[in-house]
């Protein structure tokens, strides 16, 4: 099966010379359709950088990012933008929403940017907002919504355009534990019930525990990986095998 996302020897260096920061050092990662992957690691280990490169928000120093078989690094800005619009949904920690647009308009934004007819875009946005439990908040501006509600709008927005993958960078970083839990559960639901592929960056183990697979990042490298037993048998045995390898 072709992975939704795969990276090959992905590296990213910020700055140069003495002040160069090696944010990523050769990342090889593949995400299968329907998988819910969490990336964990201490702050500054390169989690966000990885997400940005996969999302085509930044360009790698070397290595490749393949989205459904298409090499992102070979596309120009407009092509990457169009790809982002159609194949990716983003949820960030802060500044997720455009402050002057209401929830419905925010959720419909990527589709409108993609040239969909506004009526259809709003219809789809409304459906998704209702599914994430924001039916009664459609016309509220972001400033009138709680942090958790804002993230829900962002999630609805990410879902509405039916992207291939949802990229979330610390979506709960700004929320209290109860709201965090709810968002994490929502993501879990999106994965299990609606079959979406999710790449979630977090440093909160409680949130990461909802994922099917956890990738541990340290100093720009993948140091460990855990596949949850509930996912399926072969993968569990695969991970056991892997653990053995690490041990040897």
């Amino acid at each position: 099966m072709q992975p939704i996302v795969s990276t090959q020897d992905l590296t990213k260096v910020y700055g140069h010379g003495a002040t160069a920061v090696h944010a990523l050092r050769g990342i090889n990662l593949a995400i299968q359709p329907g998988e819910f992957v969490a990336v964990m690691g201490p702050s500054g280990c390169g989690k966000s950088t990885l997400l940005h490169l996969i999302g085509g928000l930044d360009r790698p120093t070397s290595g490749k990012v393949m989205i459904e078989g298409e090499d992102l690094t070979r596309l120009n800005d407009d092509q990457v933008t169009a790809l982002r619009r159609r194949k990716m949904g983003f949820v960030f920690q802060f500044f997720n929403l455009i402050p002057v647009l209401n929830a419905l308009e925010n959720a419909a934004l990527p589709m409108i940017l993609d040239g969909m007819r506004p009526n259809e875009a709003y219809q789809r946005a409304r459906e998704w907002l209702e599914r994430v439990g924001l039916g009664p908040r459609l016309t509220h501006r972001p400033s009138e919504l709680s942090g958790g509600e804002q993230q829900r709008v962002a999630i609805a927005r990410a879902l509405a355009s039916e992207p291939s993958i949802i990229l979330a960078d610390e979506p709960t970083g700004n929320l209290d534990s109860r709201a965090s839990e709810e968002i994490a559960m929502l993501l879990r639901q999106i994965s299990s019930e609606w079959g979406r592929t999710i790449l979630l960056v977090t440093h909160d183990p409680r949130i990461a525990a909802y994922a099917d697979r956890i990738v541990f990042l340290k100093d720009g490298q993948i140091v460990d990986e855990t596949i949850m037993e509930s996912r399926n048998g072969d993968e569990v045995s695969a991970v056991v095998g892997k653990m053995k390898e690490i041990g040897d």
Binding site: M185, R188, R206, T226, V239, M243
Partner: protein, 195 residues
């Protein structure tokens, strides 16, 4: 200790049969998976309570079988229960097996401490994932008590995971420091340092 006090508490509600007490305890403690109590443990506890005069057997419907006997709380029992409610629960100081493993790995060099951490972490995450899944299946409008109990476990796991992160981050530093050894103490009274 807590089983004993729980029995006192359940009997203070109303008089109960032995089997009834077992079921009530398990329901309250969060189900069989959470606290699997053997019937024998209940009956020995009941026996001891009766001997200390904290409960009494209901003579009107006495039976041979312990589960068919009916018990009631005595005044002394109520007194004891009140005391229990008013003293805080003491938390046992950490006596952690993983810690021992890690120390031994460091001291003996027989295993890679980092690998220990990864294996432990994977296991903790599996458990966390299991509990999270369990928790998602519960309906907060009816099973909140259970959810809260799960939360406690989740938080303990979370704390353990954070602790592992901390160990991982500071592993190199720990390595550089001497492994704790028993102090070489001379026998007899410690000498006073003359001044």
């Amino acid at each position: 200790m807590s089983v004993r006090n729980a029995i006192l508490g359940l009997l203070s509600q109303r008089n109960r049969y032995g089997y009834e007490l077992l079921q009530a305890f398990q329901a309250m403690a969060g189900g069989r998976e959470t606290w699997d109590l053997k019937p024998a443990q209940i009956y020995t506890t009941l026996l001891r309570l009766k001997e200390s005069g904290l409960i009494a057997e209901d003579e009107t419907c006495s039976s041979e079988l312990p589960e068919k006997r009916r018990y009631a709380i005595t005044a002394a029992g109520r007194e004891e229960l009140k005391r229990w409610f008013e003293t805080p629960v003491r938390v046992e100081p950490q006596r952690d097996e993983f810690f021992l493993k890690l120390m031994l790995a460091l001291a003996t060099g027989q295993a890679d401490p980092r690998r220990l951490i990864y294996i432990q972490r994977a296991s903790l995450f599996q458990e966390l994932h299991r509990l999270s899944t369990l928790r998602m299946e519960l309906d907060p409008s009816t099973s909140l008590a259970h959810i809260l109990l799960l939360d406690q476990a989740v938080m303990h796991l979370e704390a353990d995971l954070r602790w592992l992160d901390m160990i991982e981050a500071r592993l190199e530093e720990v390595r550089k420091q001497p492994i704790p050894e028993p102090e070489h103490r001379p026998r007899g009274r410690p000498q006073k340092i003359a001044k």
